[in-house]
């Protein structure tokens, strides 16, 4: 119950969504010598900006156009959001603090992460305009680039620690065991959540907003927010598998440590927006199938050596 409502669950997820979007805008602004969102709550540095955006979107007209299948058009953003939130069921927030304890937690998480792309594609298909269609193709192609390295990097960790996620906080953190796998995970996650050099499916300078083009109001909130839910799940997974999760501590302090690690990872992914230009789709695909694939195969090799030794 605590897990569902408080830590990996809803409240932390909501706070994360609000803070991550704000932090992304603030970080980009800092790099560009701007202030970013400020006057909405000047003393707090504009933290309430995301709340204002949220209220604005939720209280603006819900347009469900009649040129396409209206039921699907309206329902699919919620489906995408829901699917992106599902990995949280299996990610422990502390010893015993997990919604569904399972020896195969890692497998479930990987499966759900890979399932979410078809959901996004379905959404873009239901929206049915030229920009969402291009965004859909790019989303598919980008998944083709990252999924094998992502699965292999997690396989490398599974070779050492097994697939029960709650065991990862014991012993050496994954980054020390297998730095190659960690690097591959960083890059593959940046692709999976369309962080910057790989912000290809929703490149707003090229194809409006890709799969999110047609949505306004709370549908936009759901569709675009789902990306950050995925980022949340991936940050938690990365912090647990590679940084040892709640490792040195336990209880409330352990949760704080875990959140700190996940935030550090998130900050890295968010900062990418400010410092990288966008890659072309063929560059991203080649990166995925050349450098990243061989690095991830090497990561599996490193883990095998670790096991044999």
């Amino acid at each position: 119950m605590v897990a569902a409502v408080f830590f990996p669950g809803l409240i932390t997820m909501g706070l994360y969504l609000i803070l991550a979007v704000w932090a992304e805008r603030k970080l980009a602004a800092k790099v560009q010598w701007r202030y970013g969102p400020l006057y909405v709550s000047e003393k707090l540095g504009g933290v309430l900006q995301t709340v204002a955006d949220l209220l604005k979107l939720a209280f603006s007209e819900l347009v469900v156009p009649s040129y396409t299948n209206r039921a699907l058009f309206a329902a699919l953003p919620a489906v995408v959001f829901f699917v992106e939130a599902l990995p949280l069921l299996f990610i422990p927030g502390g010893p015993g603090l997990v919604m569904i304890p399972s020896g195969y937690g890692l497998l479930y998480v990987v499966a759900i992460i890979l399932i979410s792309t078809p959901a996004v594609v379905a959404m873009a298909w239901a929206e049915a305009d030229k920009f969402t269609f291009i965004g859909l193709l790019r989303e598919l192609l980008l998944e083709a680039a990252y999924e094998v390295p992502l699965v292999l990097s997690l396989l490398a960790m599974a070779l050492v620690y097994g697939t029960d996620l709650s065991t990862y906080a014991q012993g050496l953190p994954g980054i020390a065991v297998n730095p190659v796998a960690f690097f591959v995970y960083l890059v593959a996650t940046a692709m999976a959540t369309s962080r910057f050099p790989f912000e290809i499916p929703d490149a707003d300078a090229e194809i409006v907003l890709g799969p999110y083009t047609e949505y306004g109001s709370s549908l936009f909130l759901l569709a675009y927010g789902s990306n950050y839910v995925k980022l949340y799940a991936m940050a938690l997974l990365g912090a647990l598998v590679f940084l040892g999760g709640w490792a040195p501590l336990a209880g409330i302090a352990g949760i704080a440590v875990y959140i700190l690690k996940a935030s550090a990872l998130t900050a890295f992914w968010l900062l990418l927006r400010a410092v990288y230009p966008r890659m072309r789709i063929d560059q991203a695909l080649r990166l995925g199938w050349r450098e990243l694939l061989f690095l991830s195969a090497a990561a599996v090799g490193v883990s095998a050596l670790w096991r044999l030794w």
Binding site: F59, E61, L62, S66, M99, A145, V151, L155, S217
Partner: protein
């Protein structure tokens, strides 16, 4: 399990709330452009779904086949306890085939 069900129910309720709020409180004004698809400020024009970009099909094929192998490695490892041979062999297959293909394809890039 109670936690999981609570999580799913609360999440669904929250999402439902996001539909209810604009339905109840937002102002509404029906116009023709809102009913039509977005076309960068123009009236809709031309065909919507075009042919797919075929030059990337090799990547899609590779993903479709090797993703299965990679997941298989993960599953094989976790079901047959501590068996290192299968995952390593499958990974080697993925990397090996890509290297072999790559030697040929990338030399033309």
């Amino acid at each position: 399990m109670v936690g999981a069900i609570a999580f799913l129910v609360l999440l669904a309720a929250g999402l439902a709330l996001l539909y209810a709020v604009p339905k109840l409180f937002a102002p509404r004004a029906k116009t023709k452009p809102k009913e039509l698809r977005f076309e960068a400020g123009n009236p809709p024009y031309g065909r919507l779904r075009r042919r797919m970009v075929i030059q990337y099909i090799r990547y899609v094929l590779a993903a479709a086949s090797f993703e299965a192998l990679a997941s298989l490695a993960l599953v094989a490892y976790s079901t047959a306890q501590q068996d290192l041979v299968t995952p390593l062999a499958l990974t080697a297959v993925v990397a090996g085939v890509m290297a072999a293909v790559g030697g040929d394809v990338w030399s033309h890039d």
